[in-house]
Every structure is written in structure tokens, then in C-alpha cells.
């Protein structure tokens, strides 16, 4: 058994009086995709922010390669090769593509205190990275982010994380703003990262996306780890129910059908 790249042991996180994460223990292995599932507000983003060094756990332990680590700030995580695409934000509307791509990781030339931001390299790398996402419309690294579409921005953010995520790639609902083509491209990227031995943590609300790439699934319900299973251990219906916070949603389709049969084809009134 190999040591997991990342491991959480009994991690709790509360914001003042609000307990958000309860006693989470998880492992993330190299070359494996962990799908983090759960309803809105279940604590998924909080969990990955803890892994990314944005939040510090209130209690509990975090290990990287078997060694206890404490990330004081996001830079500590990025320096160790953990790259994250957060659910919101992440791009800067009034910055150029090249500059935004390298925020906090600026390529420089020159020496000592006279290091100079290498704009040419930044633009080239950034444009190449987004183009490899199938977004070939972007060919000028000096364009401002604010002029891109939401999906283009999202792709740029993912391309950035892929570029810097040497060990762990964390994607918080990366496919939310994307078109079918770009979404499937993200899934392919995830599989490619996995093939290269990178550990991937993937958050999504779409069962299809989760089942397409996940090796390992962890379900959060109200901040607690409600289920954790491997690919093939649960059916699609069971996963759907768990994603909805444990309610039997998969049956909903069947229920509606029966209802309509017995009610002359009228759909049921929504319950208020």
C-alpha cells in the first residue's frame, strides 16, 4: 500500500459558532480521481479550501506524503504542487490573459533584485495553455480577461491549475459554466492528469461527470462524511440519492411517472 499524497485525519472546521466540517478523514492517492459530492452547503468548498491552504482546520491533522503539514496560507499549498480552481472568482477582469495566468507565479528574467516580469513568456505560455483547451479563439495574451466569456475564463483558470498542479489538482465545480465540448474536455484533462500520476479532487453536481472520471467517491452531508466508496460499488441511482443529501431523488422520475398515470397525465403540483 502506497502512502497517500494527501490525507485528512479527523479534520474539523468551524467559523466561529458555525460548525461546517465534522471529523473528516479522507485520503487522496496519486493517479486517482476523488469525486467530492454533496448538496449545496454541504461543505465541499470549505473542505477543499482547507486542503488549498485558504482555511486552517480548527482541529485535526493534514498529511502530505505521510508527513504532517500545516498550510498557513495558500502559497504554502501551491509551493507543494497543490493547485486549485476555486468555485468563484480566480480571474481578474482588468488584467491581461498573460498576467492573470501567472498571478503569484510570475515568470521572471534577470537576476537578484532586478528580476523583471517576463511578459513575452507569460503571454505565450498562457495562450498555448488555453488553446490546448480547444479555445483557439484566444491568440493574444495581452487581451483583458473581462472581454472573455464565462466559459473561456473558466477554461483559463483550469488551464492555469493544470499548468501549476504538479502533485494535486483540485477542481471545484469546474464544469459548471462550460459548454458540452469544453466540459468533456475538462473531463479528458482530469483523466490525463490522473494518467500522469497526479491526484485529482473533483467537485461536481452532475452524476454523469462524476461517474465518467471518478475512481473514488466521498459524499458530504451537512459537513460530515456520509459515504465513501470506490468506483462500481454503488449504482448510479444510489449515487444520485447521496448527492441530493440522502433523499431518494432517483425515485423521483419513477414517482412522477406513476403519479401521471394515475392522474390523467397531469404532472403533480409542486409542494410549497
Amino acid at each position: 500500500m502506497t502512502t497517500p499524497v494527501l490525507e485528512l485525519r479527523n479534520v474539523n472546521k468551524s467559523f466561529g459558532p458555525i460548525d461546517v466540517l465534522h471529523d473528516i478523514s479522507l485520503t487522496v492517492n496519486a493517479g486517482e480521481v476523488l469525486c467530492l459530492l454533496g448538496d449545496n452547503g454541504a461543505g465541499k468548498s470549505t473542505l477543499i479550501k482547507t486542503l488549498a491552504g485558504v482555511h486552517r482546520p480548527t482541529s485535526g491533522q493534514m498529511l502530505m506524503d505521510g508527513q504532517p503539514v500545516l498550510f498557513e496560507r495558500p502559497k504554502d499549498a501551491t509551493d507543494r504542487g497543490i493547485a486549485t480552481v476555486h468555485q468563484f472568482g480566480g480571474t481578474f477582469p482588468l488584467m491581461t490573459i498573460g498576467r492573470s495566468f501567472f498571478v503569484g507565479m510570475e515568470p521572471t528574467k534577470g537576476w537578484g533584485p532586478f528580476k523583471v516580469f517576463d511578459r513575452k513568456t507569460a503571454n505565450e505560455v498562457a495562450v498555448k495553455a488555453v488553446q490546448s483547451f480547444g479555445i483557439t479563439r484566444i491568440d493574444d495574451g495581452d487581451r483583458l480577461i473581462g472581454g472573455l466569456s464565462g466559459g473561456e475564463r473558466q477554461s483559463l483558470a483550469i488551464a492555469r491549475a493544470v499548468h501549476f498542479g504538479a502533485r494535486v489538482l483540485i477542481l471545484d465545480e469546474p464544469t459548471a459554466a462550460l459548454g458540452v465540448k469544453q466540459a468533456s474536455h475538462v473531463l479528458r484533462i482530469v483523466l490525463e492528469a490522473k494518467r500522469r500520476g497526479i491526484a485529482v479532487i473533483f467537485i461536481t453536481h452532475q452524476v454523469t461527470h462524476a461517474m465518467a472520471v471518478g475512481d473514488h467517491f466521498a459524499v458530504l452531508i451537512r459537513g460530515a462524511l456520509a459515504a465513501s466508496f470506490k468506483k462500481g460499488e454503488r449504482s448510479r441511482e444510489e449515487i444520485t440519492d447521496l448527492m441530493a443529501g440522502g433523499e431518494a431523488l432517483a425515485d423521483l422520475g419513477a414517482e412522477i411517472e406513476t403519479y401521471m398515470e394515475t392522474h390523467d397525465g397531469h404532472p403533480p403540483q409542486p409542494v410549497h
Binding site: 509551493d79 488584467m95 491568440d139 487581451r143 472581454g147
Partner: protein, 347 residues
């Protein structure tokens, strides 16, 4: 000079014709350049020969230099999404510190200069620290420190010297370096301004830290998530504006050979106006050093040029007010153009 430190003028894609237009509208200083030209033409016409003579240049350049030294770091702060009102109180505080230490206590001048600059750095540190810690908007925090510093300056001056003004006799060396006139009319401060332009232009447009400043002003949380030491950066930027204000205060004490507890308040709004006329976005994330410099020159030209015309000097304030409004509108237009501009559309 200023052009040498402006945003990188060349791009790999400049090869195609028409790309220069995209480059031009994308620059934050585009609007302020047009404003400067308009203002210059206006005063060249109505101000007559004197305005375009060396003496005319000196009149606004001297004013521009003093405001400019403060407007540069205030502009960086604004690009980073913060405001600094306390500069107006730091100027007299540092002048008084210098004058009291050297003039009243007769201590070596270098001690006074270091202490005076230290006052600026300290207030800047407090500003940055408080903004980080409390999350209160910097407008409020720095208004607070402004009043605190004003009160302390007055209180300590009266307590130590029994007076609200102190005279001092600068040594020949510092008088030359900080308070002399070149050619009988250009203040040496103009050269210090040039030095500040080079250093701050380099910081914003050439060094990697510039990227952090833009990111900080664009989205503080994302900037932090991307690994930028946002707290340290904020403190550093406030210390820079504190230092610049203290520097101007030291220069003033050298020129006038005395210091008063009041004065300096005009710098608060003037520096902000220079920065905004220069195309910096009030809410952060956008702007350039060249723009700040152009904005400062435009502001000073109106400020001084009005005396060369036959108009009522109060009209100058009206022009500045109108200019500010026009500048913001124009800058908005140019910013939108730069957002929607794509090199491909030109084909």
C-alpha cells in the same frame, strides 16, 4: 523619461497592421493623454507667452513634483484597491518632527530626517495593519489615522515646544539636495519626482510585484488564493505612501526653513484627483504610472495655468472639477474599448 517606464510597448502580435490601435486603446493613460493635450492647448492660447516660457513651465512643474511624489504611491494603492487619506496629516507631522529635532533640540540633522521619514513609515504601517486586521475600508481607517496624527502633531508640538510652529536652519548639503532651486526657478523636488517615477514605474510595470498589485486590486480574495502575500503587500504599499508624504514634508521644511502643525490637507484630494485624472480606476485593478504622471501634470497645469490667464482664479477649481468628471467618463469609455477589443476583429 516617463515613457521609458510605461507599460511594455511591444507585443509579439504587433506584426499585423492595426494592432497598434488595440495597443493604444488598451492603455489606461490614453484618456489622460488627450486631457493633457486639451489643457495645454487651452492655457497656451489663453495664458499667452508666459505660460509656454520656462518660468511658466517651472510654475506648474514645481507644483506637480510635490503632488506627484505623493500621487505615485497613492496611485499604486488605488490600483491595489485602497485609499490613503492620512498623507495630508503625515506631511506636517514629518516637517514638525524634523524641525523640532533639529531646530528646537539642536540634534544632528540626519537624526531629524530619519525620524521624520520614520513617522511616515510608521503611520503607513499602522494603516496597512489596521486595514488587514479589521477589514474596515481603508477610506475610514486612514481618515481615522489622519485625525489621530493631526491631533498628536498639534498636541506634541505644543507640549514640547509651546508653539504650533518651529523654525530650523538646514545644513548647506540638505538644503541643496532637498530644498534648492535649479536655474533659479525649478525646484530640486522635480528631480526627486523623476526618481520616484522610475522606482515606482519599475515596481508596477517591470517587476513581478506589479502583477501582485493589479491582482490585489482586481480581487483580493482570489489574489490571496493565488498565493500572493496580500497582507504584507498592503502594509508595504501603505508604508510607501506614508514614506512619500514624509519625504515631501521634509522637503517643505528644508525649503521654508520652518514647519507648522497645519497644512498639507490639500494634498489629500489633490493627489487622488491626479491619480483619477490619470486613468486609475477608483475601485482598483486598473491604471498605470505614466497615466498618474500625466494626470499630475494636467492637474498642476490647470492649478497654476489659471494665474496666467485673465480669468478669475476661482475658475481654476471649476475647471479641475469638470476635468475630473470628463476624465472619469473618458477613462470609462477607453476601458470598455480595451475590454471588448480583440486583435482578431480587426481583420
Amino acid at each position: 523619461m516617463a515613457a521609458a517606464v510605461s507599460t511594455n510597448p511591444k507585443t509579439p502580435s504587433t506584426g499585423r497592421s492595426g494592432a497598434w490601435l488595440g495597443q493604444a486603446v488598451r492603455r489606461p493613460e490614453m484618456g489622460s493623454l488627450l486631457g493633457l493635450i486639451a489643457v495645454f492647448v487651452f492655457f497656451a492660447v489663453f495664458g499667452g507667452q508666459v505660460f509656454v516660457s520656462p518660468a511658466g513651465f517651472a510654475s506648474w512643474l514645481n507644483v506637480a513634483a510635490e503632488i506627484g511624489i505623493i500621487a505615485l504611491p497613492v496611485g499604486l494603492l488605488m490600483i491595489a484597491g485602497e485609499l490613503d487619506m492620512s498623507v495630508g496629516a503625515i506631511i506636517p507631522a514629518s516637517s514638525m518632527t524634523l524641525a523640532i529635532i533639529t531646530g528646537f533640540y539642536g540634534l544632528p540633522e540626519i537624526v531629524g530626517i530619519i525620524a521624520a521619514l520614520g513617522v511616515g513609515l510608521a503611520v503607513g504601517f499602522v494603516n496597512g495593519f489596521a486595514v488587514n486586521r479589521t477589514g474596515v475600508p481603508s477610506l475610514i481607517v486612514t481618515i481615522g489615522t489622519m485625525f489621530a496624527v493631526m491631533g498628536l502633531t498639534l498636541g506634541l508640538a505644543v507640549m514640547l515646544t509651546g508653539s504650533t510652529s518651529t523654525s530650523m536652519a538646514p545644513t548647506a548639503v540638505s538644503k541643496t539636495i532637498l530644498g534648492s532651486f535649479i536655474g533659479g526657478m525649478f525646484q530640486v523636488t522635480v528631480f526627486w519626482w523623476a526618481a520616484f517615477i522610475v522606482v515606482i514605474g519599475w515596481l508596477l510595470h517591470v517587476s513581478p510585484v506589479g502583477n501582485w498589485i493589479y491582482a490585489l486590486g482586481g480581487d483580493r480574495i482570489s489574489a490571496r488564493n493565488a498565493g500572493i502575500p496580500t497582507d504584507r503587500l498592503t502594509i508595504g504599499l501603505f508604508m510607501m505612501s506614508g514614506f512619500a508624504a514624509a519625504f515631501v514634508g521634509v522637503g517643505q521644511a528644508m525649503v521654508y526653513q520652518s514647519a507648522q502643525v497645519a497644512g498639507g490637507q490639500s494634498f489629500i484630494f489633490n493627489s487622488i484627483m491626479c491619480v483619477v485624472i490619470g486613468g486609475v480606476l477608483l475601485t482598483g485593478g486598473f491604471g498605470s504610472v505614466l497615466g498618474i504622471v500625466l494626470g499630475t501634470i494636467t492637474f498642476s497645469m490647470v492649478n497654476q495655468g489659471i494665474y496666467f490667464t485673465g480669468f478669475d482664479p476661482n475658475l481654476g477649481s471649476v475647471i479641475i472639477g469638470a476635468l475630473l468628471l470628463v476624465a472619469v467618463l473618458m477613462n470609462d469609455t477607453f476601458r470598455n474599448m480595451s475590454l471588448s477589443y480583440s486583435a482578431r476583429k480587426r481583420k
